[in-house]
């Protein structure tokens, strides 16, 4: 029996990676889907999109051809007007913008003109009334009715051409009138602008214009497809091993769990990188082919060398994406017992990656320092910047969405942030994965527990953390759909939102999980006696009101009158509602209803779930912060999030301090009722001064609010001296 050898570390990680890769490359179906499919998919995608692009180009060419305008004239003054337009067409100087290249004018009788228009043989028909020219050259206004062809495809350019011709005619008439009055022509032309320089023209220019947007879309698609490359090997790496019964023999190897997981990550990462390379190569080759179909001159601007450089730059910036995607897929599938279960858990990951990658395309985010640190969004943004700077079409436009380009100094910083954040996130995810795999309750989870989801669980006093997270996820989904279901009116919309997004998921889950409502929602008297409860509720009301005023003062000072249109519309809706409705009804709708629903949701169910039945101080802090973050996110408007987050912290602390949800409901209601009562009591002049653009609140209001906070806190402290024993956090 031999002596022990040094184990673990990189040799062990590489041994596991080699073993997993050997297994992967022998699964031909997985190999085909992961690596060969992209090579076939992009040409197919390009073929279908080329059809669209060619159709668009054809349409552009057709429009370019539609610089020709076919007029028909009828009526007694038709011929002189046609001659006048013909003379204008021959004179090339001083024609207004949009003047067609070629104009044909036919003078026919009205029946023939009608026929020509009906057959589509002419673009526009003008029946010129008698005395038109004398009116045009005189001092009156000539009314002309232009009938456009209804047979030809609708084309706004025809109308623009007709208007240009009519403008030219009117300019000519103005000059004649000025000459007759002995006035100089410059009287009506105070300014003349001439452009110099080369402006791209035609369909090639149009294609160049849309190229950055197409590139950005392809980058997002590439991010998604690169991440999908991690799916199969990640499923196979842990869940597959559990299913095949080979995980135990791996876990008894003399290596720390982190080394085992890192070895598996290296295998998944290698496959993901290969998928990325396959996708990038396919995109480059497809682009080379595609560029030949694009209008003349464009293909010469983007050579094979440029495309190869683009491919390499994308590979460089997406290596971090491949690492994060590999680690994320491993983490998500680590708890799964079978490949099928792992596949199901990866479905939301696809949506998450697509949503995050899409953030890079949101107007206005480019160039932000935090963006490269956001997984997937940062990788797409850095790739966009790199391609824009070095990839051969940086000269076309500043950046993809028109924002200022990143300078050569900013790009390395963005790349460094992206790489470092990818490494940190990957390490974090692998650490979490190692903990999940080492968790023996997950590792040896029996089949009876795996299928338990469809049975109502036995009665319990408090919800679990998963149940808390589940309700938040359901609430977000319901909130999203409630936006579409809600009626246009503000109050009915609020009722639908509160009932569909807040109460419905809460009641459904609480019923299904058979949770004790009193414990889960902390429905009990604060302070243990009626006098102390009264003090606690009064203190909570003062705290809520004071918080609103202080929050508003801070927010107004921070915004300095600059808020999003959505926030302004929200504020206007509220002011309008308060002015239109009875105060009691507004307080009920804006203060009481949200306070009851949202407090039961966040400070009731979610906080109970996160805190647990035996809370420690650290867990309580994490729980309060987590539910406050969810509460803030629920309010959707970024401007409201800091205030709602602080409000969530205070209300969460209030529930833990008093052991009851009632003070939180009262504080929340008072917080929301304060602006209602202030606006209802204010005169129109005071209301104008209290608009959202106001730089700050009066000092007396802030002083009064601080007083409310102090007195409220004192009353709560008094009530807490005999708070519920369960309120104390150990």
């Amino acid at each position: 029996m031999s002596s022990p050898h040094p184990t673990g570390g990189w040799p062990a990680r590489l041994a596991i990676a080699r073993r997993d890769l050997l297994e992967f490359i022998r699964d031909r179906r997985a190999l085909f889907i992961t690596l060969v499919m992209p090579m076939a998919m992009y040409p197919l995608l390009a073929l279908s999109s080329t059809l669209g692009i060619r159709t668009a180009i054809f349409e552009l060419d057709r429009r370019a051809e539609s610089q020709r305008l076919d007029f028909v004239f009828s009526g007694t003054n038709a011929e002189p007007l046609a001659i006048r337009i013909g003379m204008l067409a021959e004179r090339e100087e001083g024609r207004p913008e949009g003047w067609p290249e070629t104009i044909t004018a036919r003078v026919v009788d009205p029946q023939s003109a009608q026929s020509l228009i009906d057959e589509g043989a002419a673009d526009a028909w003008i029946d010129v009334p008698s005395g038109s020219l004398s009116k045009l050259d005189g001092a009156g206004t000539l009314p002309l009715e232009v009938r456009l062809s209804t047979v030809r495809p609708p084309d706004r350019r025809v109308k623009e051409n007709v208007l240009a011709v009519m403008r030219g005619l009117a300019d000519e008439a103005r000059l004649i009138r000025l000459r007759r009055a002995g006035l100089p022509a410059s009287l009506i032309e105070p300014l003349r602008v001439n452009f110099t320089g080369d402006v791209p023209q035609g369909s090639a220019a149009a294609v160049r214009d849309i190229l950055p947007a197409v590139t950005a879309a392809v980058l997002v698609l590439l991010a998604l497809l690169t991440a999908t490359g991690a799916f199969y090997p990640a499923i196979d790496a842990i869940a597959g091993e559990k299913e095949r019964g080979t995980i135990e023999t791996l876990l008894i190897s003399p290596c720390p769990m982190f080394d085992v997981v890192t070895g598996k990550f290296l295998a998944v990462f290698a496959v993901t990188l290969a998928t990325l390379a396959a996708n990038a190569i396919s995109i480059v080759l497809t682009s080379t082919v595609l560029s030949r179909f694009l209008p003349g001159g464009f293909a010469s601007g983007l050579g094979a060398g440029d495309l190869a450089a683009c491919g390499l730059l994308t590979l460089l910036s997406y290596a971090g994406l491949a690492a994060v995607a590999s680690a994320l897929c491993l983490t998500v599938t680590a708890a799964a017992k079978s490949a099928k279960e792992a596949q199901n858990t990866l479905t939301p990951v696809v949506m998450l990656i697509a949503a995050l990658a899409g953030v890079a395309l949101v107007p206005g985010v480019e160039g932000r320092l935090w963006l490269p640190a956001v997984p997937f969004a940062g990788h797409v943004a850095v790739a966009k910047s790199m391609l824009s700077t070095f990839g051969g079409w940086g000269h076309v436009g500043p950046t993809v969405d028109g924002a200022a380009p990143q300078s050569s100094m900013e790009l390395p910083v963005a790349l460094a942030i992206s790489v470092l954040s990818s490494i940190a996130l990957t390490w974090l995810l692998l650490t979490v994965t190692a903990q999940i795999v080492a968790n023996e309750e997950i590792l040896f989870r029996g089949p009876e527990e795996a299928t338990r989801g469809f049975r109502r669980p036995p009665h319990r006093s408090m919800p679990t953390v998963w149940q808390g997270c589940g309700v938040v996820a359901m609430g977000f989904a319901a909130l999203w759909y409630a936006q579409g279901l809600a009626p246009g009116e503000f109050v009915p919309a609020l009722i639908v939102q509160q009932s569909v997004a807040v109460l419905l998921p809460l009641l459904a889950v609480a019923w299904w999980q058979r949770v004790d409502a009193r414990d889960a929602f902390a429905i009990r008297l604060p302070g243990g006696s009626w006098p102390r409860a009264g003090a606690a509720l009064a203190g909570a009301a003062l705290l809520g009101s004071g918080l609103f005023v202080i929050g508003a003062a801070v927010a107004l000072a921070a915004w300095r009158g600059e808020v999003s249109p959505e926030a302004r519309q929200f504020a206007n809706q509220i002011v309008d509602l308060i002015q239109r409705s009875p105060t009691w009804a507004t307080v009920l709708a804006l203060a009481v209803m949200p306070a009851v629903c949202e407090e039961l949701f966040f400070r009731g169910w979610v906080l109970s779930a996160f805190v647990g039945s035996r809370p420690t101080g650290r867990r309580a802090v994490v729980a309060v912060v987590a539910q406050a973050a969810a509460f803030a996110a629920f309010h959707l408007l970024p401007e409201r999030m800091p205030q709602t987050f602080v409000m969530g912290l205070v209300l969460g602390g209030l529930v833990l301090a008093t052991g009851s949800i009632l003070p939180a409901i009262v504080a929340h209601a008072a917080h929301n009722a304060t602006p209602v009562l202030l606006v209802a009591a204010a005169s129109p002049a005071e209301l104008d001064a209290l608009t959202i653009s106001t730089p700050g609140l009066p000092a007396w209001a802030v002083g009064a609010a601080l007083g409310c906070l102090v007195v409220g806190a004192a009353l709560l402290a008094l009530a807490r001296q005999r708070s519920h024993p369960e309120a104390n956090v150990t």
């Binding site: 050997l22 080979t246 135990e248 791996l250 040896f444 338990r452």
Partner: protein, 245 residues
Amino acid sequence: MIEVRDLVKEYRAGGGKTVRAVDGVSFHVADGEMVGLLGGNGAGKTTTMRIVATLLTPTSGMARVAGHDVRTDPIGVRRSLGYVSATTGVADRLSPREVLDSSGRLHGIERRLLADRIASLTASLDLGSFLDRPCGRLSSGQRQRVSLARALVHDPPALVLDEPTSTLDVVGARDLFAMLQSLRAEGRTILVSTHRLHEIEYRCDRFVIIDAGRIVAAGSRAELVADRSGGLEEAFFATIGGGAA
């Protein structure tokens, strides 16, 4: 070599209940000894073996292999132990050579030494005819031999085998126990569990009978069947309180 004392393992079951799968188990396996861990399904054999193999952490009590504690020195335990599970645990798409090579690398064995070790195991466990064939195409007996070779690749002094014959036919089971006998003759310590008593009745030095997480009897065959008519199977049923089949 293997020492288990007051071992307790509790699981959290559904509905917040706690299930005690192993309840104060104590036994030892001396150097060069082969001990059979007997019990019905759900008796706690696999849980005990997984604790010894460091796959599970005990709720309380102690387990040691070659002086290494499963809690404080799991890496030391894994270096001293070869583990064979009922499912064989060999990857279908790898060949026996690759399985052994991979396992040897994980144990940090130097490449040339590993090649020698694989050659030695191939000869002693008769793997030569299928050494480079994918494990997915091997018979159950061949797969179990690969699994045993994998457990031995780092030359451990102790072996733990959890129901190694559950997927084998009579011939395969006999061959496997013949191999275990020769391994014991080499001086290795072996702890093997099974519920097919006739297979090991005359092959183990001692037996530990476990039922509902507790040891109900322990000793040599002679000690267990003493004062009773019949063999080990009758003694087993008598100790766990069930009727003979």
